[in-house]
Symmetry: C2
Subunit: 246 residues, 2 copies
């Protein structure tokens, strides 16, 4: 398949420790989820059940459960009788992801502003410091860490807002955003994001929900503005012509 580049599943590995507690399927699912969100597994990569099973020393039964879970998260696409692939969001799907984020996250930020405790704010501050450190570092692994950290802040704000359902939904949106950035991102991370993150946290500290919501809205606009939805299309145009995909 033309979709799978040289990036294979080499650098995913079982941590070998946590499997004593919780489902083994959950362990595999989280490991793969992390790998996908971190761009260690490229969109389009095929995930063969036996291969994953060998990697994690689990039977296909368990692997299948994990893959189904990832499909529900939207980071993996299941094609009947064909297998599981890391999702390749279309430009339209990508737009919908950011539309959803614009609809949800400002409200979440506003809620967070009224509910943030001193401990919450301390955690967010610590996060901002981490981001600054990561931004100074170089190299691809630092880049990956920076991508993940950026999404994590949004997730932490959602956690402060205190609605588990919305937090879970946002987690899915952020995962999908990561795929979208992998496909259509111009720069990997826009450095202006860090400043905007700081402004948002400042607004939370002032309990200024309206400003926080407004800043969040613009921040998401900026993230999306850094995408080029046409970039990915020409590569996959060939796929579309020969594929009966809508």
């Amino acid at each position: 398949m033309a979709g799978a580049p040289g990036v294979a599943m080499d650098d995913i590995q079982d941590d070998g420790v946590s499997q004593k507690v919780g489902d083994r399927a959950a362990v595999i699912r989280e490991a793969l989820h992390d790998a996908i969100v971190d761009h260690r597994l490229a969109p389009g990569t095929k995930l063969v059940e036996d291969e994953v099973g060998t990697l994690f020393k689990a039977s296909r039964t368990v692997v299948r459960a994990a893959l189904q879970g990832l499909a529900f998260d939207g980071v993996v696409t299941l094609e009947r009788n064909r297998g599981a692939y890391v999702s390749r969001p279309t430009p339209e799907e990508a737009r919908q992801v950011f539309h959803a984020r614009r609809l949800v996250e400002p409200g979440l930020a506003a809620a967070a502003a009224t509910r943030a405790t001193a401990a919450d704010l301390a955690l967010l501050d610590a996060h901002l410091r981490d981001e600054a450190t990561l931004g100074a570092a170089r190299g691809p692994s630092a880049r990956r860490a920076e991508i993940r950290a950026s999404g994590d802040l949004h997730l932490k704000i959602a956690t402060v807002a205190g609605n588990d359902l919305l937090t879970r939904f946002l987690k899915e949106l952020i995962s999908r955003s990561s795929l979208v950035i992998a496909l259509y991102g111009r720069t990997t991370v826009s450095s202006c994001g860090r400043d905007e993150h700081r402004s948002i946290v400042d607004a939370l500290r002032r309990r200024d929900g309206v400003t926080a919501a407004d800043l969040m809205h613009h921040h998401i606009d900026h993230i999306e503005a850094d995408l080029d939805y046409r970039a990915g299309e020409e590569a996959s145009l060939k796929d579309i012509v020969f594929d009966t995909d809508g």
Copy 2:
């Protein structure tokens, strides 16, 4: 069986036709989902894998996939080594459901106002007529149809808004709302809901997104106001101990 009250899984059955297309797990999942949302399966009911498998003439492998899917939808709760149960949202979870709906649905209504085509509006009108008919009918099955129809309108508005991700999320919220109503609902359906539905569709027709959003917000408030979060805890306990009629 101790856990299962009078409501068992008797009136769920395989339609026997559609299994030629799509996963068999998906068929089971949808049948169970419908049964739960329609209040034919009460919250707390245990779903034994073998039992479901016998009902649908499928092996446990397939049933497990269906149950896992339902767990992702939030209508079923999986307890490790204990089994699958129809979810019983706590009052706190119920509040979060409506908080999420208040955050998402007004925005969805506003988007629908700008995008609704004549065909969309015709579909919504037809839906309002159906609701009126169902409201006039009597009997428990008409009640169930009315509950379902009420949720369906919200879902149709989301569809008009044109964001698949948000539509799917709302579908989950509505499913959970149905469980919440089963547990904490005072009246099964508030008849004022129909009037409010009509007002919202009217606003969509006028392309008045602001009013539509506002009406939707109040509508959700009214739905939640019809709940009694304290009632459920003791009343449902009784439901489980004694065998109340279906």
